[in-house]
């Protein structure tokens, strides 16, 4: 399978990438790790006229502690997330979820920014960043803005990102008592249902919870009913009760040969319970 022809420019800076995006107009697309875009181009499901390569932009790469937050640059690869000592220590959920993405080769190329911007319904990181209540920073011709992760994902492959904008980084307050549980689709390894949970625990009782689901629906989103059921619950004992029916609240659920709607809804509850149990065990 072979992509259609396009022009290629490598951006040396975010500013240059923005300028190239402006010049290229609607036919221009950013290329980061290429592990969502190139497969689509090979199947001729995407036919951009101009690719602007930001994969090598060091200014967008890396995991840093900034004050009491952690900032992750858009071109940080999944492998770098998985290997980050800082994340392992302070926000293990992100390192662990990254380590479950695809396979070693995919993790060596794919980037967090690409994963969020592409917003595959089965992508893992969107749920994790919603659970971490991350802020997503975006730069465009008119300057920069930040969007809470929970508002960023809009629909299937659709996010709050305009033509000409670049996702530059994400930042969040690290939470240790957070975990991600995923049921992989057996062929592609994307999430059939994945749930990320971040808890605030006090003496075995949940004080606050953020829960997000991916895989089952058109896009990653919060599960408010589970969040409120968790608050005040003794964990892990109360996990099952709080997560029961977790998937039923979704208005739209995907269905294909790997899982019917009914199955996926049920799996959301199972993954939610598992994630809550793991998160509580940390907390």
């Amino acid at each position: 399978m072979i992509p259609t022809a396009f022009r290629y420019r490598r951006a040396g800076s975010v500013a240059e990438a923005l300028a190239l995006l402006r010049e290229g107009g609607p036919g221009a697309k950013l290329l980061a790790g290429g592990h969502s875009l190139i497969p689509m181009m090979k199947q001729r499901l995407a036919e951009p006229e101009l690719l602007i390569d930001i994969g090598g932009l060091l200014e967008l790469c890396g995991v840093h502690a900034v004050g009491d937050a952690i900032e992750v640059g858009a071109t940080t690869t999944h492998a770098d997330l998985a290997a980050s000592a800082l994340l392992r220590e302070r926000a293990p959920i992100l390192a662990e979820a990254a380590a479950e993405i695809g396979d070693a080769q995919v993790r060596n190329r794919g980037t967090i920014g690409g994963s969020l911007a592409h917003a595959d319904p089965g992508a893992d990181l969107p749920a994790v960043l919603i659970a971490l209540d991350a802020a997503i920073s975006i730069t465009g011709a008119d300057g920069s803005r930040t969007v809470p992760a929970a508002d960023f994902f809009r629909d299937i492959l659709t996010v709050d990102l305009e033509d000409g904008e670049i996702l530059t980084d994400v930042s969040f307050r690290p939470v240790r008592s957070a975990a991600y549980a995923k049921l992989p689709q057996r062929a592609s390894r994307f999430a059939l249902a994945g749930v990320a949970v971040a808890l605030e625990m006090e003496d075995g009782v949940c004080r606050a919870a953020r829960v997000a689901v991916t895989g089952a629906a058109s896009h990653a989103q919060r599960l408010p009913a589970v969040e409120s059921a968790l608050v005040g619950a003794r964990l892990p004992e109360g996990a099952a009760a709080a997560c029961e029916g977790a998937g039923d609240a979704l208005d739209f659920v995907n269905a294909d040969l790997h899982g019917s709607e009914e199955y996926r809804r049920a799996m959301v509850a199972v993954m939610a319970r598992r994630a809550v149990e793991s998160a509580a065990a940390r907390g």
Binding site: M1, I2, P3, T4, A5, F6, R7, Y8, R10, L31, G34, H35, I38, P39, M41, K42, Q43, L51, D53, G55, A79, G102, D103, A104, Q105, V106, N108, R109, A187, S188
Partner: protein, 159 residues
């Protein structure tokens, strides 16, 4: 559209310069332009790993990288693994343990194993199986491949 882009890639230690169409995949650059046909293509959706090479020391699927993205970088392919007649320990391991049958997946498997052993020089069997899960082999049932990688890890361990 026939725009070409000049690129320079260090392949197996040798600097290679070419003008390539942006859409040329790295795997085709290696196979067609450089005649390094040990890197194979087994799928078109980035799943099988037959095309695995090292790009700047990390395993990547060269069917999912444009040659232009490798400009200025270092690529290692299966052909660059042996030093003259001296096989790399992974090659010896695959030979010794019968880690291949038709051999089609083998170069990619070996390059993935190289990435794995770089990260984890003495993996247990479960780690080995996870480490090669981006590579599909239809012939071996993987068991001899796991043995081969374990065998190589032992050879590569500092005495």
């Amino acid at each position: 559209m026939s725009e070409t882009v000049p690129i320079t890639v260090r392949v197996n230690g040798r600097e290679r310069t070419a003008a390539v169409a942006p859409r040329l995949l790295l795997v085709h650059f290696l196979r067609e332009s450089l005649n390094l046909t040990g890197t194979h293509v087994g799928c078109d959706t980035s799943q099988c790993g037959a095309c695995t090479v090292l790009l700047d020391g990390r395993s990547v699927k060269s069917c999912t990288v444009f040659a232009v993205q490798a400009d200025g970088e270092e690529v290692q392919t299966i052909e660059g693994l042996a030093a003259g007649d001296d096989l790399h320990p992974l090659q010896d391991g695959f030979w010794e343990e019968h880690g291949l049958q038709c051999g089609y997946c083998t170069p990619g498997m070996i390059m993935s194993a190289l990435n794995l052993l770089r990260e984890n020089p003495s993996p247990d069997d479960a780690r080995i199986r996870e480490g090669i899960s981006g590579n599909i082999c239809r012939c071996t049932g993987y068991q001899h491949i796991v043995n081969a990688i374990r065998n190589a890890a032992e050879r590569m361990a500092p005495a």
